[in-house]
């Protein structure tokens, strides 16, 4: 009888697959990435290694000694106290306690301070509180501590912001107006992010984490790249991490460019280049998990995309491996077996510089 190994679906449920089935799914996921991104296949050895990782007879696996990489937990400071119903655990505590617990108890290599709403725009009215918290945290921590949030261009559109919703304009065939709205929103977002970080740097922040760049399409990325450029110019030593929202930069505008390159339609290996050119220190590639496919399919696809990005990038790559990305199942409490396998695969096969 053929041996079957316990593995997972993209939504986290337990399934059983043979080595041959695992390999077939890995290859299919890889083929999807190579086809979309026009990037190279993984080698036979790399595919075999991925099969071995998935089929390892242990609940939790780990990287080989000496291959460890820095691991951070973005938004981790509010994951103890915060409770957004999907990822915080709601234990009453402060953000200082959150960062210190991650540093001293959990062994995080870097940390990030963020606020519960986690977008840049709403930081403006509470900036003094954020500065005060950053100062207290910096006085008490040793690991690099960034300030982080989402560029979230969506907050600049009606009903949350001053610019008409480009989605509505687009549906009404008002394409030029939709594009103008995106451009206007991007300018505001760049200005807001830059202003917020001027304040946070004055309070001792090590730098900034852009979380989910491109979540609102190419305009979101355009705004972020210009903010990165402005911050690098003003603060030559600032740490800048640019983490993406997905493997493909969605083209809601379609014509926005940075450094002469159209942003819409970029895949991770192309995103890495512009992010670096803008002045980021760390690129955070993201590959979303397909919940209807197996962990093997998702891992084959994610590792292929990320490996190409790691190769193309001139700066370190810290792959995003949260819920529903990087081969991690899309589930509130992703199983440890799936998380540790995806983690090991990204380090040992994709060659990431951090997580």
């Amino acid at each position: 009888m053929t041996t079957e190994y316990t593995t997972r679906m993209g939504d986290g449920q337990r399934i059983f697959m043979t080595r041959e089935q695992i390999l077939a799914d890995l290859k299919e996921g890889m083929a999807d990435a190579t086809d979309l991104g026009e990037i190279p296949d993984l080698s036979e050895d790399e595919l075999d290694k991925l099969v071995d990782i998935i089929a390892m007879p242990a609940r939790m696996v780990g990287v080989e000694p000496g291959k460890e990489v820095p691991v951070t937990h973005d938004i981790g400071t509010i994951r103890i106290d915060g409770d957004q119903g999907n990822s915080g655990v709601g234990i009453p505590s402060s953000r200082l306690v959150g960062v210190m617990m991650h540093e001293r108890a959990f062994g995080a290599d870097t940390m990030e301070l963020g606020h519960i709403d986690y977008s840049y725009k709403p930081v403006k009215p509470v900036i003094s509180n954020e500065q005060q918290t950053m100062e207290v945290c910096q006085q008490n921590t040793i690991v690099p501590l960034l300030y982080g949030a989402m560029p979230n261009l969506g907050l600049y559109y009606t009903p949350d912001g001053p610019f008409e919703n480009p989605g509505d304009l687009m549906k009404a065939f008002k394409i030029d107006e939709a594009r103008a709205s995106i451009e206007g929103a991007a300018k505001h977002a760049t200005r807001d992010i830059t202003w917020i970080m001027q304040k946070m740097m004055a309070s001792g922040a090590d730098g900034i984490n852009f979380d989910t760049i491109g979540a609102a399409g190419d305009g979101d990325m355009f705004a972020s790249l210009h903010a990165i450029e402005a911050l690098r110019k003003e603060f030559p030593d600032i740490y800048i991490e640019a983490g993406m929202a997905g493997e493909l930069t969605l083209g809601l505008h379609g014509d926005l460019q940075y450094d002469g390159k159209v942003l819409a339609g970029m895949w991770p290996h192309q995103q890495a280049e512009v992010v670096s050119k803008a002045g980021a220190n760390i690129f955070g590639p993201v590959v979303n998990t397909n919940t209807s496919r197996s962990a093997a399919w998702n891992l084959g696809r994610a590792v292929t995309f990320v490996k190409a990005a790691v190769k193309a990038s001139s700066i370190p790559c810290h792959v995003n491996m949260g819920m529903g990305v990087g081969g991690i199942p899309m589930f509130e409490t992703p199983t440890i077996d799936a998380v540790s396998r995806a983690s090991k695969a990204m380090v040992e096969v994709a060659g990431v510089d951090g997580i």
Partner: protein
């Protein structure tokens, strides 16, 4: 020119996103005596389908999708004169689409609406953070064939289930298809709450809507 070549020319004209090219290709197909329904289905709609695939592959972007849809609509308008009145301007189905109450995420849902509209459905996008009763009211008002329920957070996902329960309570469930989507939604979740389908992305939403309604 063979029929197949003509269909390809029509599809290519849609993919070019140029209204003039589509109008010219439609006029040419008409002069060749091809049936309007065939021009639409095998030429224009096939081209629009390809546009959807190119969008998912990052080769075309949302403005192009809308330009292509506008060009196709122009071609269909030309053909309406040749079509029986009851079939002219007929949409593939009526869909109410929105993000459930408590969830302010708009962009993914909006892309799905745009793609459904471009594919030939009559779409009523009722926005984001939509009170659940508003879905029911809009379904009644438009006599919708399908409702799309989007949620991007695990906290708002139960809103999808609640709408299905409300449809049942009000005796509407048997007459409408329910599609769910959004990051935390899954195939299993769709089955669990009794939705008719789950769509992973915008092009899958179009494909599944066609499967269920066309």
């Amino acid at each position: 020119m063979s029929k197949e070549e003509m269909f390809k020319e029509l599809a290519d004209a849609v993919i070019s996103c140029k209204k003039d090219a589509v109008d010219a290709a439609v006029e040419k197909a008409r002069s060749e005596g091809i049936e309007p329904a065939e021009i639409i289905e095998k030429g224009l709609a096939a081209g629009m389908n390809e546009v959807g695939i190119m969008f998912e592959r990052g080769k075309l972007f949302l403005p192009h999708v809308m330009l292509a849809a506008g060009a196709m609509e122009s071609g269909v308008t030309i053909l309406e004169a040749d079509m029986p009145k009851d079939t002219a301007s007929k949409k593939l189905g009526v869909i109410v689409n929105g993000t459930v109450e408590g969830d302010v995420h708009d962009i993914g849902k909006s892309i799905v609406s745009t793609m459904l509209q471009s594919a030939g459905f009559e779409v009523h996008d009722i926005g984001r953070d939509v009170p659940l009763q508003d879905f029911i009211d809009k379904i009644k008002e438009t006599n919708a064939d399908m409702v799309g329920l989007s949620a991007l957070m695990t906290t708002t996902l139960p809103g999808q289930k609640a709408v299905i329960e409300m449809l049942k309570e009000q005796g509407l469930r048997d007459n409408i298809k329910v599609m769910v989507g959004g990051a935390p939604a899954t195939e299993n979740w769709a089955k669990k709450i009794g939705a008719d389908c789950y769509a992973e992305n915008a092009s899958e939403a179009v494909a599944k809507a066609k499967e269920l309604l066309v």
